[in-house]
Amino acid sequence: MMDLSITTRDLNLWYAKFQALRQVSVEIKHGLITSLIGPSGCGKTTLLRCFNRVNERYGYVTTTGEIRILGKNIYDPDVSLVELRKSVGMVFQRPNPLPLSVYENVVFGLRIHGERHELERARLDEAVEKALSEVGLWDDLKDRLDTKASTLQLEQQQKLCIARLLPLKPEVILLDEPCSALDVDGTRAIEELLFSLKGRYTMLIVTHNMAQARRASDECLYMLLGEIVEHRRTEDLFLHPQDPRTAEYIEGRYG
């Protein structure tokens, strides 16, 4: 039995009157890459955004049910959003580096969370080197740490967006279609990066690309109309779908 990283129970979510998630109960295993697939509007991004509570930016969202991360229900009133988002990082569809230098992007998290004594230059330098090495950008960028992050190639920007999560030592990394703005090589590079991070972080990836889900994930969740239809090992889900709706979708007859 593997450790569980995230468990949800009876999660419902409404955007005003529209119910986007219905009775979602899933268990996400620690250290694996889990992909969320399903047709547009099925609620996969919404579910992803529940895990670090960014949905709540919009005032008209109501959520019921429970999500446990590291054993703590993140919808409890005593949860600190700041600490939650520190341990649940997020990568967006379009690379969104902050309008700062590469260096400042990586240490941004440390700067906003860190105590003053942690912000010595040497510590920050070390964190930058470590994070950029982990995502394979260090060799390319070590001489250009002062360039604006927005001038990098898209693939590098997206890697940087992953790198800036790492100094905060997150438990979970949420990726919302992280490759949809990238070309084939960029996509492969990001996928390889995800493989190399496997085991240390729990990764959840939303994708429209079924081939990617198949290549890059250990487990796969198929969603439809706000419900979880099937959640199994990726191979099993693609080779022997148990629900006819899943079969229709992966064979391309639906969606």
Partner: protein, 394 residues
């Protein structure tokens, strides 16, 4: 040679393909009309500029003489008949048309006026000075009765003193007070409304503040004159009730909507992905707004301040009513002060058309035009840069 046959015997002209613009005549007419109107607007603005500059040009070129005692001596009235008509016309400084329309008695009266004016020339060492020359417009001069050189604006005294420095300083004083008051308030409001306020509140607050822009400046001036002046004097306890400080605060009320509206647009147009990224990294909304969104919007915010400055310098009614209008050259904001705009508004109607006072007021106008034009241009350039940076950078 026979025409190539088309299906159904149709020619290329069958759907007006060959009619060019005439195929849609009304659109063509509308287009031309709009073009004429827009060109007219541009030409009008340009003509206003030309007019202001034309009236001010003689001063700029040093061709205006405002000496109280002109060099030419006055002639006794009896000599009128001895001058030939052309000499008489030049002596009385009339145009040919005016001269032709006047009868003998009028001319005689004018001769008397001229003589009286010559007799009234003050016995003053400064009387022969051309006070509209640059060194008197900008530099200090020790006028008769003063114990040291001073910058004096006294256009209707017997010696016309036209030093514009007190007016420029007055304008700067009120504008700086206005900006010091308006910028923090307007920026804080913009940051709050664009980044922190719940959407429903934003829907009310933003139009509310922008509605302030619709308050006529005479109302703001009245408010400054009657309410603010008394209140601020009770609080701060300074001597003169109407002063640069009161005018500046009232002026600030006029600037707030300008600065707020542009700064709010700049902050809102910072891509949401920036604040989203910061929030997802665990920053509070305040940190995201302050450390990410505000720095990204700095050019737009700067432009807002520059345009606010343009408004403050150019605003007339508020300062005319609330500043006290004494042309003192001091650095204290609690002294009564007189701005360039208020001077023009108060004095232009009483000047001699085409005279030196009139021309110097137009010089002030040209100066104002230049200042507001330059600050607007600067603001506009900075906004363009911001746009390019945000659109091209990604």
């Amino acid at each position: 040679m026979a025409e190539p046959s088309h299906p159904g015997g149709r020619r290329p002209g069958w759907q007006a393909l060959d009619r060019g613009q005439r195929a849609r005549p009304w659109e063509w007419v509308a287009e031309q009309a709009i073009r004429v109107v827009s060109v007219t607007a541009i030409v009008l603005v340009f003509l206003i500029f030309v007019f202001v500059m034309r009236e001010a040009l003689p001063v700029l070129l040093g061709r205006v003489n405002s000496a109280a005692a002109q060099e030419r001596r006055a002639l006794p009235v009896e000599q009128m008949d001895r001058l030939d008509p052309e000499e008489l016309r030049q002596y009385l400084e009339l145009s040919r048309k005016e001269f032709a329309e006047m009868d003998r008695d009028t001319l005689r009266l004018l001769m008397e006026v001229k003589l009286e004016a010559a007799e009234e020339v003050p016995e003053d060492k400064d009387a022969p000075l051309n006070t509209a020359a640059w060194r008197y417009l900008l530099g200090p001069h020790q006028w008769t009765g003063y114990d040291r050189p001073a910058y004096i604006w006294q256009p209707v005294s017997s010696i016309h003193k036209y030093n514009i420095v007190p007016l420029i300083v007055g304008s700067l004083k009120t504008s700086v007070v206005a900006l010091l008051f308006a910028v923090p308030l307007a920026l804080a409001a913009a940051l709050y409304v664009s980044q922190l306020a719940p959407p429903r509140l934003k829907e009310w607050v933003k139009p509310g503040i922008e509605l302030l822009a619709g308050i006529p400046s005479v109302v703001l001036g009245f408010f400054g004159l009657v309410v603010l002046a008394t209140f601020l004097q009770q609080v701060c306890g300074y001597a003169s009730r109407l002063n640069a400080f009161v005018a500046g605060i009232a002026l600030g009320l006029a600037c707030i909507p300008v600065i707020f509206s542009i700064a709010e647009d700049a902050l809102t147009s910072v891509p949401r992905s920036f604040s989203e990224a910061a929030l997802a990294l665990g920053s509070s909304r305040w940190q995201a707004a302050w450390q990410v969104v505000l720095p990204a919007a700095v050019p737009g915010v700067f432009a807002a301040i520059v345009l606010g400055f343009g408004r403050a310098v150019g605003e007339t009614m508020v300062v005319l009513m609330a500043s006290g209008n004494a042309s003192l050259l001091t650095w204290s904001v609690f002294d009564s002060t007189r701005t360039m705009t208020a001077t023009i508004a108060a004095e232009l109607a009483e000047t001699v058309f085409g005279g030196h006072h009139y021309r110097i007021l137009f010089l002030l106008g040209a100066l104002l035009f230049a200042v507001t034009f330059l600050s607007n241009l600067l603001g506009e350039l900075v906004i363009q840069r911001l746009k390019r940076r945000l659109e091209g950078g990604r």
